[in-house]
Symmetry: none
Subunit: 196 residues, 4 copies
C-alpha cells in the first residue's frame, strides 16, 4: 500500500524482535525452558502468540536467540573492558562491577545457564549454553591470569578461581531472584575471592 514503509517495516520488525527477546529472556530466565509458555512471552512482548512464529519458527529457536543475545551482550562488555586503560585488576573490577550491576536489574539473564540442565530441551540447546558459559569462563580466566602475572590476583589454579568467581555471581543472581530486597554484598567482598 505504502511503498515507502519498507524501511519502517524493518524498523518495526527489529523493535519487535528486540521486545520479544527481552520478554523471552525474562520469562525463560525466571521459569526455565519447559515451564516458560510462548503465550506468556508473547503477552509480555505485547504481541499475539501466533506472531511469535513469524520471528522464530519454534520455541527452541527463540531460546537459542535469547542465549545468543546474551552472548552478544557479553562480547560488548568484554570489548569495553579490553578498551579500558589501567591494570588487569582494574579491568576485573570493571567487569565484575558491571555483572553485579546487571544482575541487580535482570537476574534472570544470568540463570538461563542453570536451565541447561533441563535435558528435555534438545542437546543443541544444552551445547549452546555450555559453549556460551565456556566463552565467559575463558574470557574471565584470561583476565585472571593477567592479574596473576601482574601480581594483583592470588596465585593458584586459575580455572578453579574463575569457577569460584562465576559461582558467586550466579549465586547472587539466585539470591536476587528469591529475595529481591536483600542487600547484595559490596563488590570488594566479592572480589576478596581473588585476593590471597
Amino acid at each position: 500500500m505504502c511503498p515507502r514503509s519498507a524501511e519502517q517495516f524493518e524498523q518495526i520488525k527489529d523493535e519487535r524482535r528486540r521486545a520479544l527477546l527481552r520478554a523471552a529472556r525474562a520469562v525463560f530466565g525466571r521459569k526455565g525452558f519447559a515451564a516458560a509458555k510462548i503465550a506468556d512471552i508473547a503477552a509480555q512482548a505485547g504481541i499475539s502468540h501466533g506472531l511469535v512464529y513469524h520471528y522464530y519458527p519454534e520455541k527452541e529457536s527463540l531460546f537459542a536467540a535469547t542465549v545468543e543475545a546474551s552472548a552478544e551482550g557479553w562480547e560488548l562488555l568484554m570489548a569495553l573492558a579490553r578498551a579500558r586503560e589501567g591494570t588487569p585488576w582494574e579491568r576485573l573490577v570493571y567487569v565484575c562491577g558491571q555483572m553485579i550491576a546487571g544482575l541487580r536489574e535482570e537476574p534472570e539473564h544470568l540463570l538461563m545457564t542453570v536451565h541447561v540442565v533441563a535435558e528435555d530441551a534438545s542437546p543443541a540447546l544444552s551445547d549452546l549454553l555450555r559453549r556460551f558459559r565456556l566463552r565467559v569462563i575463558a574470557d574471565l580466566e584470561a583476565m585472571i591470569q593477567e592479574g596473576q602475572r601482574a601480581g594483583e590476583v592470588a596465585q593458584g589454579p586459575s580455572a578453579a578461581l574463575t569457577r569460584a568467581l562465576v559461582a558467586i555471581v550466579q549465586g547472587l543472581a539466585i539470591n536476587r531472584l528469591v529475595e529481591p530486597d536483600a542487600a547484595l554484598p559490596p563488590l570488594d567482598v566479592v572480589l576478596r575471592i581473588l585476593k590471597s
Copy 2:
C-alpha cells in the same frame, strides 16, 4: 493374617519412600518443578508412576516432602556443627566443607531453591522453599556473627556476607551440574570471602 509382615510392610514402605525422595530430589533439582515428570521420578525410583500416588497424593506434595527432607538434612548438619568443639571459625570451616562435599555428589539438592522462581508452582511451594532458605541463612548468619565477635571473620554487615557465602555455594552447585568434570576451588578459596 501374617503378623510379622506388618513391620516388613512398614520397612518396605519406608525404604521406597526414601528411594522416591532421593529420585525426586535428583529430578526436581535438575529440572525444576514444572519440567520434572512424575514418570521420570518414578522410573528413577524403580516404581510405576501410579505408585507415586500411594505415597504422595500429588506432585506438589512430593516436592514439598523433598524440600522437607533437605531441611532435615540441614538441621542434622547444624546439630553436628553445634556439637563440635573449637572456635566459631572451625565450625564454619566444618559446615562449608560439608556443604561443598555434598554438592560434589548431589549438586541438585542445592538448586531446588532456584526453582522457587517457577511461580506457577503454587505459592505454597514458593513459601516453603523461601522459608527453608531463610532458615539456612539465619543459621549461617548466626555462625558468622559469632565469628565476627571472635575476630575470626571480617567485620561488616553479616547479612550481605551470608548471602555472599550462600551464593558461592549455590553457584558451585550450578557449576558442578553444568561442568561435572571441572575442578572445584579448594575450601580456603571459598572462605576467603569471610576474611578481610
Copy 3:
C-alpha cells in the same frame, strides 16, 4: 485350623456378600456405574477393596449381581402380592404402596435402571437392566389388565398406562434423592393415573 468353621465361613461369606450387595446398590444407584468406585463400595461394606474380587471377579459382575438382587426383591414382592386376597385393585394398591415405601428409604435402588444408558458399561449390563425393567413392566401390566377387566382401572392401552405408572414411581425416586425432605404425594394421588 478349625475344621468345624466351614459352615461359619459360609455364613460369614454370605453375610459379607449381602453387605457388599447392599453397599453396591447404594453406591451404584447414587453414582451410576462409571462414577462408582470399587473402593467406595468396599469401604461402605466394611471390607478392603481387594476382597471385593474374591466375591466378584470384576466391577461388572458386581453390578450385575446388584441388579439380580433387585430382581429377586421384585419377585418376592410380586409373590406376596399374588398371594393376597382381594380385588386386582387392592393388589395394585399393595404393590404401589410397597414401591413407594421402598423408595422412601432407598431411592437409589430404583434408579439403577437410569444408568443403563451409560453405554460404556458393556451391552451385557444394558441388556440385563432392560430385561429386569421389562419383567417389572410385564408384571405390572398384567395386574393393570386384570384391573381393567374387573372395571377397576381406566380403560385404554395398558402398555402406555403401565409406563406412566412406572414413570411416576421412578420420578419420585429421583425427587427423593434430590430433595430428601420434600413431601411425597400420597398414594391415592399416584394411583389417579389408573383411574378415569
Copy 4:
C-alpha cells in the same frame, strides 16, 4: 486486518458454542457428569477435544453452561405459557404438552438433574442443578395453585402435587431413553394426576 471477519468469527464462535452445548447436553444427560468424556462431547460436536477448552475452561464449566441453557429454555417456555390466553388449566395443558413433546425428542435434557446425585461433581454443580429444579417446581406449583383457585385442579397440598407431576415427566424421560420405541401415554393420562 480483515474487517468483516470479526462478525464472522463471532458467528462461527457462537454456532460452535451452541453445537458444543447441544452435544454436551446429549452426553451429560445420557451418561452423567463423571462418565461423560470430554472427548466424546467434542467428537459429537465435531471438534477436537482441545478446542473445548477454548470455550469452557473446564469440564464443570461446560456442565454448568449446559444447565444454564436448559434453564433458559425453561424460561422461554414459561414466558410463552404466561403470554397465552385461556384458563389456568389450558396453560397447564400447554406446558405439559410441550414438556412431553420435548422429551420425545431429547429425553436426556430432563435427566441431567438425576446426576446431581454424583456428589463427586463439586457441590457447586449440585447446587446449580438443585436451584434449576426448584425454579421449575416453583413455576409449576404457581400454575397448579392458580388452577386450584379456578377449581380446575384437584385440591390438596400443591407441593406434593407438583412433585408428582415433575416425577411423571422425568420418569417418562427415563422410559424414553431406555425404551425409545415404547408408546408414551397420552397427555390426558398424565394430567389425570391433577384431577380429582
